[in-house]
Amino acid sequence: MREDLTDELLMHRIACGDAAAFDVLFLRYRRAIFHYTLRMVTESTLAEDLTQECFLRVWRSRHQYRLGAPFRTWLFTIARRIALDEVKKRRVPTTALAADTEEGSDSRVRAEQLTDPSHEDPAEIAVSRELTRVIEGALNHLPETLREVVLLRDRENMTYEEIAQITGCPLGTVKSRLNAARARLRAVALEWLNAR
């Protein structure tokens, strides 16, 4: 099986019952789907189960896939439905963090240093990793409606239009949710930077 085939062409082969084409698509997206479901349900074993269920549903729904439609959007729509069903079923706890809109002038120099790729000082790298862990924790505590837009945008590099299709929300809602999510993460980052 050629691994350079587009997702959509692979889906046509999968519709013919081609298991090798399915494997190529699985290998292409397993990390993204696992990561997405892991962030949504915050439990590794459960995320593995949901990833497997997602791909199995892709296989079994292969005839519902609309010819020529963007595969990635379709895939994440399935993953999202499965993850949100699980969140509702298990009531995965999410704790909304207090939004902090305080200005960030004190953190300016530190933020500049951390975002500047020329700073390759091991100490700075360690700080950056620590901040990533802090943001990761904060992300896990966002309500899932906010968390999912951050994941789809910043992890999967999706456009607002793609996110709107996956979540079934208007573009304006996608944008306002992203702003709200980032405002909360920003507040956590600022607090952490100021406490250092």
Binding site: A19, A47, A111, T115, S128, Y160, K175, L185
Partner: protein
């Protein structure tokens, strides 16, 4: 930069609401130019942008993990078992959706339903053959036949 060029604070609020869209490359050109002109003149909004970039960068750098190989093998075994049961399939498209109406055990389409099909034509995607397509006598239902 002289202080008299610093924009009024009320402008900063509207600019900051657009910083995320600017980072995402989702701002229309005219808004982008307005925002970039503001950033050139406003150190406070530049600091805000840097903080926001730090946040998005942190999300991107969160460690990647992946499911184990055992799951792949289990999934593939299940898919192969199901694939062997239906090697060639007939679909019907209605309301812009495609669904299976009949599954065949053989490698080629050889069912009695061929009587409903008019002349079959090849369907290609990006220059590659993917299926045969045909319409029923009434011209209302479209059939796709995939064969290995």
């Amino acid at each position: 930069m002289s202080t008299d060029l610093i924009p009024p604070p009320e402008e900063c609020a509207s600019i900051r609401a657009e910083l995320g869209a600017w980072i995402d490359g989702e701002l229309p050109r005219e808004d982008r130019y307005r925002l970039e002109r503001h950033l050139d003149a406003c150190p406070a909004c530049r600091a805000e942008l840097e903080l926001l970039q730090l946040v998005t960068q942190s999300v991107r750098e969160m460690p990647h993990s992946e499911p184990g190989e055992a799951m792949r093998q289990q999934l593939l075994a299940q898919v192969r078992a199901e694939a062997n049961r239906t090697r060639s399939e007939l679909f019907i498209a209605e309301d812009d959706r495609v669904r299976v109406i009949r599954e065949h055990g053989g490698p080629t389409f050889d069912g009695e339903d061929h009587s409903v099909l008019e002349q079959m034509t090849a369907v290609s995607v990006e220059g590659r053959f993917v299926s045969w397509q045909g319409w029923d006598h009434a011209g209302t239902s479209c059939y796709f036949i995939y064969t290995d």
